[in-house]
Amino acid sequence: MSPLFSQEVPLSWYLLLSAVLFSLGVVGFLIKRNLITVFMSIELMLNGVNLSFVTFAHQWHAVKGQIFVFFVMMVAAAEAAVGLAIIIAVFRARATLAVDRIDRMKL
């Protein structure tokens, strides 16, 4: 190993990155109007969490965190498939994707 890589990246950096990603997701979720952007913000939050899972798993030498990440990714993939389908259906029905307008269950 070269000395450049001999020193590990400190744990707090990963966690900080994870927190930044999560917060970006939260902020995007809160301030964006476009449904697709909101959806992407949710993915961002999930991945922020994933990062911290992996970090801790590495730190504790425990495999549980990694498994959690796989679960989250699988659920996120399924969610993306269903969510995008719903978004398309909503767009077809309402001709808009602004979340403020989509506040009725009924048409």
């Binding site: 400190p10 744990l11 966690l15 939260v26 809160l30 730190q59 504790w60 979340v99 403020d100 506040d103």
Partner: protein, 665 residues
């Protein structure tokens, strides 16, 4: 004969009759309903008689242990106790079983209740033929509760019967509930009886507190162990029980419900409000006599109340014009006699009078019912008259009944009334006063009963009774049997009867009486009764003008009596009106508007107020919900950070790379 008497059958048979007729009565054919209603009391009577036959009450006590009489015949010694095998009430130290006891006292009562009860059932088939079957099923229900009351071996079982007969009485007084006066009379009877029941209940609580048991025999045994225990709490218990008895047996000051109870059908008046239920109070006093024996004060209260009621009710009966009301007041008056008998500790004399009274008063009521039936529901004596030709059987049996209640020798009433008066006379100076009051009451009784007799049957017809007709045989049969009993019922003689009852109610220690004294008193009593007859004869035999003259001469007295001393009005003004006003105020303002309305307004107000605030949350804006969610998550995070230092520590450790859980996984 089986030594098991199956006492439980006695109440259960009428109850089965009640259930069958009460539930299925409408769907069954009429003859079936009738036969069920009649068979139930008849079968109960049969059980009582068979129990009586398998006992040896009339033979010397030697026979109790060594069977004698017909071979194969097992005699059962009294008192015979039958306990329900299942435990009933077990609360701490208090154990109460469901006990039936057959002794001489309950045997006499049972014979009267089921025997007279059956006769009245037969009568009611004729009398109430057109009405729905309910009356007869209620009559069966009444018999069920009455026999439970009589057979009770402890005060609680008795209380069940006690309340039950009150219920049956309420249902039957208000039988024609479409009539407001009948419904009101039912309510009045029920409420006034509650006052008495309150006394009974308090008495029972005191019994439990002081004796730890409600079983009559155990109470008697405990008192026998401490013969010196007199007065004190025993007086209070006895007076509480006395209040209960006064309510049920229509004594002063709780008698007011009985005259109104005449709104019920006449067989009901005969069965419940003359022959059986109203005597329950007397029976209860006799049953708990050991308590009264240990409290001279309570005994004298009983005697005083009895004597006062006897003369009080008799004076009211003098001027009543409704035939059933005259009989009702005479019932109250006769019950007063029985209380007087109890009060001078002559319980067997009181029970003797109870028995003969059941015969002749049931007879008089049923005869009155026959008259009322014959002339189309008219009850006013002033509109009767001259019915002796048209209703010969009714006339004959009424004559027997009147002679019996007036105490003319040799009819039943003479013996029993005489026994009570004689016992009172032997009780010292106060006893002589009670005796005199009783004698005066006898005079009044003879007068008003013969007044009723003359006004109904003698003279000319004063109403439109052309179509008067004699009743069917189902009504005449019981009348004739009861008339026979009213003649012969007293011939057992007080001495024999007293000896028979002695094991149950004890023998009173009195001043030595003598046959001569008894004879003199009897002659005086009969003379007084005849005097009452003479006066009634003068007043009412031919033209009824004399009463009017007296009415004109003494308008105040007449008014007082005709309005029953204004007792109802007095109670109305002093008790009922204030109570109504208070409860109306309390229910309307405190409970309805204050509590219920207040609670409703409060709940509604809270919901409205909270809703007004919380609705702002529900903006319908997705991002505002998300913002709240994020804020909530942040708040939870912050809270954990602040309040759980370990997590804080863990976080710092995690970020700085230290290893927290060494022995972990």
């Amino acid at each position: 004969m089986n030594p098991d008497l199956h006492l439980w059958l006695i109440p259960l048979l009428p109850f089965a009759g009640f259930l069958i007729n009460g539930i299925l009565g409408r769907r069954l054919p009429k003859w079936l309903v009738t036969s069920v209603a009649l068979l139930a009391p008849l079968a109960a009577f049969g059980v009582v008689v068979s129990a009586y036959l398998s006992l040896s009450p009339l033979v010397p006590p030697v026979c109790v242990t060594t069977p004698c009489g017909p071979p194969g015949w097992v005699y059962i010694p009294l008192p015979y106790v039958e306990t329900c095998p299942l435990p009933w009430i077990n609360a701490g130290l208090l154990h109460i079983d469901f006990i039936f006891v057959l002794d001489q006292l309950s045997l006499v009562m049972l014979l009267v209740v089921t025997g007279v009860g059956f006769l009245i059932h037969v009568y009611s088939v004729g009398y109430m033929g057109d009405d729905k079957g309910y009356a007869r099923s209620y009559l069966n229900l009444f018999l069920f509760f009455m026999t439970v009351l009589v057979l009770a071996g402890n005060a609680l079982v008795m209380f069940i019967g006690w309340e039950g007969v009150g219920l049956a009485s309420y249902l039957l007084i208000g039988f024609w509930f479409q009539k407001k006066s009948a419904a009101d009379a039912g309510k009045k009877a029920f409420i006034v009886n509650r006052i008495g029941d309150f006394g009974f209940l308090i008495g029972m609580f005191l019994l439990v507190a002081n004796f730890g048991t409600l079983t009559f025999s155990e109470i008697g045994a405990k008192l026998a162990e401490n013969p010196g225990w007199q007065g004190g709490v025993l007086t209070i218990i006895a007076l509480c029980l006395m209040l209960g008895a006064a309510g049920k047996s229509a004594q002063l000051p709780l008698y007011i419900w009985l005259p109104d109870a005449m709104e019920g059908p006449t067989p009901v008046s005969a069965l419940i409000h003359a022959a059986t239920m109203v005597t329950a109070g007397v029976y209860m006093v006799a049953r708990t006599h050991v308590l009264f024996d240990h409290s001279p004060f309570a005994l004298s209260v009983v005697a005083l109340v009895g004597a006062a009621t006897a003369i009080f009710a008799a004076t009211i009966a003098l001027v009543q014009n409704d035939i059933k009301r005259v009989l009702a007041y005479s019932t109250i008056s006769q019950l007063g006699y029985m209380f007087l008998g109890c009060g001078v500790a002559a319980y067997s004399a009181a029970i003797f009078h109870l028995m003969t009274h059941a015969f002749f008063k049931a007879l008089l009521f049923l005869a009155a019912g026959s008259v009322i039936h014959a002339i189309g529901g008219e009850q006013d004596l002033r509109k009767m008259g001259g019915l002796r030709k048209k209703l010969p059987v009714t006339f004959a049996v009424t004559t027997v009944g009147v002679l019996a209640i007036a105490g003319i020798f040799p009819f039943a009433g003479f013996f029993s009334k005489d026994a009570i008066l004689y016992a009172a006379f032997l009780q010292g100076t106060n006893g002589k006063i009670l005796w005199f009051v009783g004698l005066l009451t006898a005079l009044l009784t003879a007068f008003y009963m013969f007044r009723l007799w003359y006004l109904t049957f003698m003279g000319e017809s004063r109403g439109e009774n052309v179509h008067a007709h004699e009743s069917p045989w189902s009504m005449r049969g019981p009348l004739v049997i009861l008339a026979a009993l009213s003649v012969c019922g007293g011939w057992i003689g007080m001495k024999h009867f007293g000896n028979f009852l002695a094991p149950s109610v004890g023998v009173l220690p009195t001043e030595a009486g003598s046959t001569r004294l008894e004879l003199i008193l009897s002659v005086v009593a009969v003379a007084v009764a005849l005097e009452g007859w003479m006066i009634a004869d003068k007043f009412y035999r031919r033209k009824v003008t004399k009463p009017a003259q007296y009415m004109a001469a003494l308008p105040g007295t007449y008014n007082l009596l005709a309005n029953k001393y204004f007792v109802d009005e007095f109670y109305g003004a002093v008790v009922v009106k204030p109570l109504l006003a208070i409860s109306k105020f309390f229910l309307e303002w405190v409970v309805d508007i204050g509590l219920l309305g207040g609670a409703a307004w409060l709940l509604g107000g809270i919901a409205t107020f909270a809703g007004a605030i919380l609705q702002r949350w529900q903006s319908g804006n997705l991002r505002s919900y998300a913002a709240w969610l994020a804020a909530g998550a942040a708040a939870v995070l912050l809270f954990m950070f602040v309040s759980f230092p370990t997590i804080h520590h863990m976080f710092i450790c995690a970020t700085s790379g230290c290893v927290l859980y060494k022995g972990g996984h």
